[in-house]
Amino acid sequence: MNRKLKVLLIDDHPLVREWLTSLIDQQPDMAVCGEAEDVQSAIKVLKAASPDIAVVDLSLKDASGLELVKSIKAKWPQVGIVVLSMHDEDVYAERCIRAGARGYVMKRESTKRIITAIHEVHAGRLCVSDQMAASFAEKFVGGRAGAQSSLQDLSDRELEVFNLLGRGLGTRQIAETLNVSIKTVQAYCARIKQKLHLATATELLREAVRWHDKQSEGAGVA
């Protein structure tokens, strides 16, 4: 018989850890090899137990789970990461996946899905909700690929505005940085939205942040 999957639980709520452990241990093919409630002890267990899968909560006591996901990805690339979070997937799922997680499960639907997610991620597949997967696919086909090509349509100035938006600057700050009026920045934003087929300012901002993150990730690797 195959050896059991070793799962590491990182969650700051004891009750969740306790019963998640019971649930996982109850499965025939997996076992919990360690628990941690914060990043420090998580790193210790990671070194000692060499788990196959890490289940990470996004809100930990001493740091953001997202950072932990990034460092696990960097130091232990063989460990599959499933994010288990109370937060809505439409806000966080994509960021977690981009940070290196392979699965995202919301706690309110975790009970039945967490075991499936562990299996899927161990098998090397991405595991998010159907809705999320559809939205990813859409972004890849329409949005991102589309956006990528339309980014070429942006003028230098528009690209500059887009980049500053991605860096988290507000309209006023962008106006000051580029030494133009707020109205001008608004006009740039309107044109960017039009060119990238984005309906709202929220979408514009999300797209800009995503693009900026991707740029900086690329820069980090290179």
Binding site: M86, K107, I182, C189
Partner: protein, 391 residues
């Protein structure tokens, strides 16, 4: 005798106008309450105020001598002794009762001297002296009345000022308390929301997992009760969703800078779904708000305004606008409803006041405008200069 007549009438007119002015200045404290702009009474007071008490007394003494001289010039048959009242009244009002009494005595003496100078023999002074004593009594009575009046007036002024100051303090205190109340309620809501999210929801997650463990165990044993256990898992997960919904209502704006944009987008969409109105969110460029309190208060203003439009205004179309312009960050809620009643009272008026309080709390300017023939526009502008956005 003829050449004296114009002089006398001139003196009479002058003295009358002066007496009337001072009498008005002394008797009408109403001007001090701020209903009228500075009148000439106040100008007279200011003019008097620029001179010291000594100067006033000196002027009054000189005036008395002047009147005595005119008394002398006008001859024995014209009695102008009433004019002596003028310097006495001025002294009583602006220099105090003691100089006024002194002046009263002086004016009697001056008038006697003028009588003597006019050729009245010392022996025949009996009648003017008796008249003089009677006049003195009248002057003293006048001095008493005027000083008393002056006292009352200044007392009243002091009291009015005290009251006004107390009222201003009280108003400021009330505003502070209202804002504090809003802050506390917001903080408490956030705390309860946070507790629900971090405490109760996590606890329920643990419970759901525990039920799942039980359900799987029962499954493994082939027991019929497993179905009930699975049902419990579903119920607990529903409870998590409910608690999350409540947490969201209590703490609607996520902490990051674009939290308000997201929250308003979600809120307008929900309003459209729930109330069968068209509630649009317009936000031409990303508006980032780094203070969670500002973001939350703006959200609450939008929430209240949209609620009013739906409930009281029976609006069909509502637009929530969040934008950044040269003046600052502006939130605006406009609708096509019935508009505001004159003197919106009760719950609605209270709602407007709370919105204004919220705006004030975050340093914003709140404005309500009724549009003809339909519709209301509520807006809140948070002024922002280049230096304010620096960090």
């Amino acid at each position: 005798m003829e050449e004296l007549a114009p002089k006398v009438s001139l003196i009479y007119i002058l003295s009358q106008s002066v007496v009337i002015r001072f009498a008005k200045g002394a008797v009408v404290p109403g001007d001090r309450m701020g209903w009228s702009s500075p009148s000439h009474d106040e100008r007279v007071e200011q003019w008097i105020g620029r001179h010291s008490r000594g100067q006033i007394i000196l002027a009054c003494v000189l005036a008395t001598f002047l009147v005595g001289y005119v008394d002398y010039l006008s001859g024995p048959r014209i009695v102008i002794s009433v004019v002596y009242v003028v310097p006495i009244a001025i002294a009583a009002l602006f220099a105090g009762p003691v100089p006024a009494v002194g002046l009263s005595i002086l004016s009697i003496l001056v008038s006697l001297v003028s009588d003597v100078a006019l050729g009245l023999s010392i022996n025949a002074l009996y009648v003017p002296a008796v008249n003089g004593v009677l006049r003195l009594l009248f002057f003293l009575f006048l001095v008493f009345v005027l000083s008393r009046l002056r006292e009352l007036q200044s007392g009243l002024e002091v009291r009015v000022e005290e009251r006004a100051r107390a009222l201003a303090l009280e108003t400021a205190e009330r505003q502070r308390l209202e804002q504090e109340m809003l802050e506390i309620s917001e903080r408490e809501q956030r705390r309860i929301g946070q507790d629900l999210h971090d405490g109760l929801c996590q606890h329920l997650t643990g419970t759901a997992l525990a039920s799942q463990v039980l359900a799987e165990k029962l499954d493994a044993q082939g027991r019929a009760e497993s179905e009930a256990a699975h049902r419990i898992v579903d119920l607990v997960e529903e409870a998590i969703s409910l608690a999350r919904g409540m947490a969201k209502g209590l703490n609607p704006v996520e902490l990051q800078a674009d939290g308000l944009m997201q929250a308003l987008e979600e809120f307008t969409a929900t309003t459209t779904d729930l109330f069968g109105v068209t509630c649009r969110f317009e936000c031409p460029t990303p508006v980032l708000i780094h203070s969670p309190n500002t973001a939350t208060q703006l959200y609450r203003i939008a929430q209240e305004a949209v609620g009013n439009a739906v409930k009281h205004g029976q609006a069909k179309g509502i637009t929530v606008t969040l934008e950044e312009n040269e003046d600052g960050i502006r939130l605006c809620v406009s609708d096509d409803g019935r508009g505001l009643d004159k003197g919106a009272a009760g719950a609605k008026g209270m709602g407007l006041r709370i919105m204004a309080d919220r705006a004030r709390m975050i340093g914003g300017r709140f404005n309500v405008a009724s549009h003809w023939p339909r519709g209301v526009e509520l807006s809140c502008l948070i002024p922002q200069g280049p230096q304010m956005e620096a960090h």
